[in-house]
């Protein structure tokens, strides 16, 4: 039996073994962000550990469905080791493609994008990136 008709293999693997699940205590080198999708009741929290302009590590928690858990896992994996500016460029479409989300689960990609940007917005000098991105 194939695992599922509802979930892609990538989504399912992230759900079974989520990467970077957890919470860190607040610290000077850590930024935190949160996002919600009121319609589905999902809540994602994302934290980034920074060294200068680089994201050394990331973690997340999510109260949400299988795809939301997969999105948090994938995004925190993707941002590790990247520059803050690179992270700002990650968008929901990329998350969606990477995980092969079902069409009705695209909101999970947006949730992860929102959570990431909410954390990035706490970074020093992030206002600049944010304004560039939003044109």
């Amino acid at each position: 039996m194939s695992v599922d008709r509802h979930y892609s293999d990538r989504v399912w693997q992230h759900f079974l073994r989520p990467c970077n699940a957890g919470v860190w205590q607040d610290a000077a080198d850590i930024v935190s962000g949160e996002a919600e999708t009121p319609a589905s009741g999902a809540l994602m929290r994302m934290q980034l550990r920074l060294r200068g302009n680089r994201i050394e590590d990331a973690c997340f928690q999510v109260h949400g469905c299988v795809s939301a858990i997969a999105a948090g896992s994938w995004v925190t994996q993707w941002v590790r080791g990247r520059l803050v500016s690179e992270a700002w460029a990650l968008d929901a479409a990329q998350i969606d493609t990477a995980l092969a989300l079902a069409p009705e689960k695209r909101f999970c990609a947006l949730l992860a994008e929102d959570a990431l940007r909410s954390a990035l917005a706490q970074c020093a000098g992030s206002a600049l990136h944010s304004s560039m991105l939003n044109g």
């Binding site: 509802h6 399912w12 989520p18 919470v23 929290r45 999510v62 109260h63 949400g64 939301a68 858990i69």
Partner: protein, 414 residues
């Protein structure tokens, strides 16, 4: 077959496997060597043999609910029985009135039949049960109007297992000459049904909930005093004109056999099921943030519905029904929502009991059966505990609330 051994089936309220003895009995009524003739063929001995088999089965089904054989009408299942009872009675008694009373927690077959009648000009009152899922007889009495012709309330709720006080409802309806229809699909074979004492005028039964085949059911139609129904299926005038269509002899024989077995085993089966269900309930309720849906006492032996706070229902269902990182074991259970990846529709039954959308979605119905073993209950409980704890550890709502207030209080907030 190896996959089956990795699955614990706790969805007997959805359907049961056909008992091997029932399968064997049915096989004698299909092929050329068996009794395959049309039971309506009165011109030859083969037809008579088929008709005899149908009548033996009718007596077996009637015996399960202590009714008379001639009061049983074959249908394709409980859904058709519900349709025939409700639409048939409404049409037949429309000269007397056009008001019907049912409950918001009824099966869709009842609710959709009532909706259909509303479009045809009937008025329907939908009772809301209390938080424990019970309809108060006084509430029913208050809902009756001068032109109420029919009350339809189920015996055992299919989602929560709550047992309604049908005797009390019947005392109220009989006094006023109102027809009482009872969907007993979930109670037959689990609770003793003594029809003369129960006082219902129409009772829907299903074969596949009690180890018989899918595709066959029956409607009890009281003869004394006689309940009149308009046929909903027209044709050859079978079943005293109430339900036309060639009788499926093998299905009917299967239902008869299954009802006989259910009757013989009723006391033993329900004791065992109740013990297993309680064992599961105790194991799972030992965790914080687990709520039992429906009354704790007035419950059928085989069903328990639980709400798990502090997690997402879809994720829980996915975690349990597919192999996990730690375990190949899968559970076959029902969720508190008509949930596919595409649509999330929280159970209207749990919503009617006051659960929120999120709580209804994070609910599971476990239903045990004849083949369920204590060891399976323990393994299932452990599998649920592991999944619930894993998902709660991922939930910012749950971890935050339990960090602030401890786990017990977290339940209230998450």
């Amino acid at each position: 077959m190896s996959e089956r051994s990795d699955c614990i089936y706790l969805d007997h309220a959805a359907t049961t496997p056909v008992d091997p003895a029932v399968v064997q009995a049915m096989c004698g009524y299909l092929g050329a060597e068996g009794v395959f003739a049309n039971p309506a063929s009165a011109t030859h001995a083969d037809g008579w043999a088929a008709a005899d088999a149908v009548e033996r089965a009718r007596a077996q089904v009637a015996a399960l609910i202590n009714a008379r054989p001639q009061e049983m009408v074959w249908t394709s299942g409980a859904t058709e029985a519900d349709n025939l009872a409700i639409k048939g009675a409404a049409e037949s008694y429309c000269g007397r009135g056009c008001h019907i009373v049912t409950a918001r927690t009824e099966h869709k077959a009842v609710l959709d039949s009532c909706r259909r009648l509303e479009r045809a000009g009937y008025r329907v009152t939908y009772l809301t049960p209390g938080r424990e899922g019970l309809i108060d007889p006084a509430q029913l009495a208050a809902a009756l109007e001068a032109d109420t012709i029919l009350v339809s309330l189920m015996h055992v709720n299919n989602e929560t297992g709550v047992v309604q006080d049908i005797d009390a409802f019947a005392r109220i309806t009989r006094e006023r000459g109102i027809i009482l229809h009872v969907d007993a699909a979930q109670s037959a074979g689990k609770l003793a049904i003594d029809t003369p004492r129960l006082g219902a005028d129409l009772i829907s039964l299903s074969a596949h909930k009690l180890y018989g085949p899918k595709g066959v059911g029956a409607l009890y139609v009281r003869h004394r005093p006689r309940v009149r129904l308009s046929a909903q299926m027209h044709g050859g005038g079978h079943e005293q004109g109430l339900r036309s269509g060639t009788l499926p002899t093998h299905q009917i024989v299967g239902m008869g056999h299954a009802c006989r077995l259910a009757g013989e085993r009723l006391a033993e089966d329900s004791d065992r099921m109740a013990r297993l269900r309680r064992r599961l309930e105790e194991r799972l309720c030992a965790m914080p943030g687990v709520l039992v849906n429906g009354d704790r006492e007035r419950r059928a032996p085989h069903i328990v519905s639980l709400t798990f706070q502090g997690l997402d229902g879809e994720a829980l269902m996915a975690a349990l029904t597919r192999p996990s990182a730690r375990s190949a074991l899968r559970l076959a259970v029902s969720s508190g929502s008509a949930c596919t990846a595409a649509s999330r529709e929280p159970s209207y039954v749990l919503r009617a009991l006051g659960r929120s959308d999120a709580e209804a979605e994070a609910s599971l119905r476990f239903s045990v059966g004849r083949s369920t073993r204590a060891q399976e209950i323990d393994a299932a409980a452990e599998r649920v505990r592991e999944s619930v704890e894993r998902l709660r550890a991922l939930s910012p709502r749950w971890t935050r609330a339990s960090a602030q207030h401890g786990q017990g209080a977290a339940a209230a907030e998450a």
